[in-house]
Symmetry: C7
Subunit: 78 residues, 7 copies
């Protein structure tokens, strides 16, 4: 059991992703960096709460241990 799922995330670098945190907040933006703890740098990130855009960040660091899921290719959504 290699850590293949993480490799797929690595390949998603520089593409648009959507991620959801445990508190329900979602972020859509460009995945610039991700490490094995799933810490991420997201560029041009939009923050969503209850489906509504509430903030925009040119660059944001998100701590991986709060992550629920990542949708790797989200360029067509929204």
């Amino acid at each position: 059991m290699e850590r293949v799922p993480l490799k797929i995330l690595e390949k998603a670098q520089d593409s648009i992703i959507i991620l959801r945190l445990k508190d329900g907040t979602e972020y859509k933006g460009r995945l610039k960096e991700i490490d094995s703890y799933m810490n991420m740098i997201i560029e041009d990130a939009t923050e969503f709460m209850d489906g509504a855009a509430v903030a925009k960040y040119s660059e944001i660091f998100i701590r991986g241990n709060n992550l629920l899921f990542i949708k790797p290719d989200a360029s067509e959504i929204f």
Copy 2:
């Protein structure tokens, strides 16, 4: 005590599964990859909240530490 339960999950790759996260959200889709942390890539995933389909994802990465259970062969359900 080998980690036999995880081996059964490995065998479920490429089949349709249902999984429930700690927050009650459920996903049904094709299990493409799973690692020993139970991180998963699910293809053609439908997201369910309170039993209702709320979203569809062509591909989604789910962090294993939020997992409650996996039903390995769910092809006959829904």
Copy 3:
């Protein structure tokens, strides 16, 4: 202090058990596999919420870190 309690669970393989998760959900079914993390495969599992049967699964993988307790021999109950 050996891990004797887990050995008793190993002996429960192939018998009917009841388990309760931290969220209060209970499962009754045949314990097919269990590892040292208390990950389990349960066959012919019935899911109970607030005492009522809500779902049946021919086979289910349950992540051990959500486990509250296991009743090893539950063949006489329900």
Copy 4:
């Protein structure tokens, strides 16, 4: 700092204990086995919620990481 508190629990084997879990549920019964993770096998266990007996189990495995406290010698109580 040896792990003296756990040694006292070991000595409590085969005696009647009361334990409380983080969710407030209590169990009274005979401590058959305990390991260094505080996983326990309790025999002739009675489950209490809000002070009322709600279930009886001839044998039950309780995962130690949910434990709040153990009263080692509870033979005189109830």
Copy 5:
């Protein structure tokens, strides 16, 4: 950075302490044993909820990972 704070707790052995758990429950009693995980044996313990004494235990084992604080010398209080 030695673990000096724990050494102060060791010196509190055989004296009366008050401790609070994460759920707000407090215990006052004689600290008989404590280990590096802050597991404790308390003798002649009184349990307090919302400031009111609700139970007494001749001896109780308390799991350290639920601990919020310990007041080492509480002989003059209450």
Copy 6:
């Protein structure tokens, strides 16, 4: 997978950041120090709850394990 996301945070030292903790509290201030656990020293920090400034601290130590996200360059915001 190097820990590149953390390196970007290191470069943010001495610049103004915004961080959000798991409980929703936010802090804006100058990032003086950060370690690999994401423990931080923030100078001239303003604390925000529900979007309103509620306190100011000339210097504050924030424990990294409660961190949700960091916006590295926040000099233009507020």
Copy 7:
């Protein structure tokens, strides 16, 4: 990335600090000892809930894993 933030806390020994725990309780007092787990001994501690002083302790041990933040130099506040 050395653990510089913790070093700053070490330098705060014997000065007045304010700390907040995850449950919102705050303590103001003299930091006597701190270790790398952020376990602390606070002297002449005042406990605050919802901003109001509710208790005083000549000496208190606080478990570090509940810590939200520490304001190192709080001698001028309150």
